[in-house]
């Protein structure tokens, strides 16, 4: 309606044509500043040293020089990591209620001879004594342990997501400006959501381990709280942006706020809610492998324990398990996504 005509200069007036260069001094100054910033921050993060060390490593690998800290460090670890640890052996005497007829699949009881040298105090001679101990040897024992830990990781992720969803639904209600009872509840809810979102899972888990001790409780709570912040924010924003017309229809007959949200908002936002929740589940599955590093249960806790004890063979088994887990997860989610579309 309100279109303005393009102004036309009066007949006969001279027009000034000129076409500038695309860059001016201003742009040069900005470019120099950016370069300086890159150099300073690059030096502070030791990017220069990284380049030197990597060059050395590459040189060492192609036989140009014979010293490289990186290659030495990596090959030391790689040597001790291979082969991955699969078996466990445990002294039968240490197992409570050992039943020789009821041992795990593939496992067997072996006799191990251990020879110890000891000084005989009478003869002052070194004597070797041989002791035989019964050992339960399970060739896949550690694989089973890791599998159990992976299941625990999965459970932590599931419960973290469940906790996040159930926390964020009431949060979203109070954080949606059109349904929050008043300004105070709105501000409180938004503030709480920002707080939950702003602290990374690992840091939350660190403190929760102090409160709840080592184990999955801290993991579930850490994952749940962070994700509740994310979901609360997105759930609330979808409620705010939902089409107002159906809401007005129910408001007009006095259905009340909760029923209005259930019947006029939920049908609209549900597909988005499912997408957000699926994203959080995916994220939690990955994070659940990591929160254990600070003692919050799952495979990460096992990894940290083994790493600290220099059991690199065990570490390798765990890394393979995590890789397989994430790989399967990606396959699965790709398949689900292609089915849903």
């Amino acid at each position: 309606m309100n279109t303005r005509p393009i102004p036309v200069p009066p007949q006969g007036s001279r027009l000034h044509w000129h076409l500038d260069q695309p860059f001016r001094l201003k742009h040069l100054v900005i470019a120099v500043l950016i370069l300086a910033l890159l150099l300073i921050t690059g030096h502070r993060t030791e990017m220069d040293r990284m380049v030197t060390m990597t060059t050395q490593a590459v040189g060492n690998l192609v036989g140009l020089n014979d010293e490289s800290q990186v290659v030495r460090g990596l090959s030391k670890v790689a040597d001790s990591m291979w082969p991955p640890q699969m078996a466990t052996s445990e002294q039968v005497a240490r197992i409570n209620d050992f039943n020789a007829n009821d041992i795990p699949l593939f496992a067997r009881v072996e006799n191990r001879e251990t020879t110890t040298q000891r000084l005989n105090e009478d003869t002052l001679q070194l004597e070797s004594t041989t002791e035989t101990t019964e050992v339960l040897y399970d060739p896949l024992g550690y694989v089973k342990t890791v599998f159990g830990k992976m299941i625990e990781t999965l459970e932590i992720a599931l419960w973290g997501t469940l906790l996040a969803v159930s926390l964020s639904i009431p949060l979203a209600w109070f954080a949606a400006s059109n349904y929050s009872p008043n300004r105070v509840t709105y501000t409180l809810a938004r503030g709480f959501i920002s707080l939950l979102r702003s602290v990374p899972e690992l840091i939350v888990a660190l403190f929760l381990v102090l409160a709840y001790g080592f184990g999955p409780i801290a993991g579930v709570l850490a994952l749940g709280m962070h994700a509740a912040g994310f979901l609360g924010k997105f759930y609330a924003e979808d409620i705010e942006n939902a089409d107002k017309q159906p809401q007005e229809a129910l408001e007009a007959i006095g259905a009340g706020k909760i029923k209005t949200v259930l019947y006029a908002v939920m049908p609209q936002v549900l597909p988005q809610y499912v997408a957000y929740t699926a994203y959080i589940l995916d994220r939690n599955l990955r994070m659940a492998t990591v929160v254990g590093l600070v003692g919050a249960g799952g495979i990460g806790q096992e990894l940290k324990g083994r790493f600290d004890m220099y059991d690199y063979g065990h570490v390798m088994t765990i890394l393979i398990a995590i890789f397989l887990f994430v790989f399967l997860l990606d396959q699965l989610s790709a398949r689900i996504r292609s089915r849903m579309i």
Binding site: I253, G254, A255, Y263, L270
Partner: protein, 273 residues
């Protein structure tokens, strides 16, 4: 306060000035008896929606008071009053992603417990009633589980009417229920609405901007312009002469000439105050 037993809706001296200074209603008095099909006629911007929305409190008037079925509208009585007043909307206002059945059932929500609402577990009588009204408005059983947004405009308004009748309303407010539909479907919808209301002896206040539809369906025509009632009488009294006198220079805003006699067809944007 005393009032005639037949008065269902009574608006007294309703004023509305919007925050931007627009005077949408200027001391409007209107009394609608029980069972009447009252058409509010007026060009776009006349204040029809504002008037209708003052009846159920969706719009808070700046002055005046509203009585429906003997109950005075206040924040305390609003909820109770709204159960008796259904509303039909120009844009149907359905939850487009929800099923037709869910939309119709949602019309009964004020009388459903929270637990039932949460699980969608409506009373068997309510389900029966939803089916009854859907049949009544001319939809088929296979529409029940269709998404409301997949229906045509006319079908969506039928769902809107079925939803409005779920609580046996005393008053039905219909705000331009056929403004986005073509003329033949408009007639079908208004016939449906009128018949359904008659069955329940419900009072209907229906805003329209089509003069011919107003004459055809109204028991009474209330003409509005610029926030004031400029005509109130039987359809027969509302002849072309009157029409052209009342609505000179008015912007009917629907690009449908022929409803306004030729001599008043000067479109003028100043009319839509």
């Amino acid at each position: 306060m005393s009032q005639t037993p037949t008065s269902m809706v009574k608006l007294s001296a309703i004023d509305k000035t919007w925050a931007d200074g627009t005077r949408a209603l200027n001391s409007v008095d209107l009394e609608v008896p029980e069972g009447q099909f009252c058409v509010i006629l007026g060009p776009s911007g006349a204040g029809k929606s504002t008037l209708l929305r003052s009846v159920n409190g969706l719009m808070r008037p700046t002055g005046g008071n509203v009585r429906v079925d003997g109950l005075e509208l206040s924040s305390a009585s609003e909820r109770e009053l709204r159960r008796r007043v259904a509303m039909i909307h120009q844009h149907f206002n359905l939850a487009t992603r929800a099923s037709v059945a869910a939309n119709v059932l949602s019309g009964a929500l004020p009388e459903v417990s929270m637990a039932r609402a949460l699980c969608g577990w409506f009373h068997p009588e309510q389900r029966k009633k939803a089916c009854h009204y859907l049949e009544r408005v001319g939809l088929k059983p296979e529409h029940l589980h269709r998404r409301a947004g997949e229906l045509s405009g006319g079908q969506q308004q039928r769902v809107g009417i079925a939803r409005a009748f779920m609580l046996d309303p005393k008053v039905v407010l219909a705000d331009e229920p056929v403004a986005s539909l073509d003329p033949q479907i408009s007639r079908d919808i208004l016939t449906l609405l009128k018949d359904a209301a008659r069955e329940l002896n419900a009072t209907v206040i229906c805003s329209l901007h089509q003069v011919d539809l107003a004459r055809e369906f109204g028991d009474r025509i209330v003409g509005m312009r610029s926030g004031e009632i400029v005509f109130d009488g039987a359809p027969e009294e509302f002849d072309d002469q009157r029409l052209s006198r009342l609505y000179q220079n008015a912007d009917w805003g629907d690009g449908q000439p022929g409803q306004v006699p030729e001599d008043s067809l000067e479109l003028d944007s100043a009319g839509g105050m």
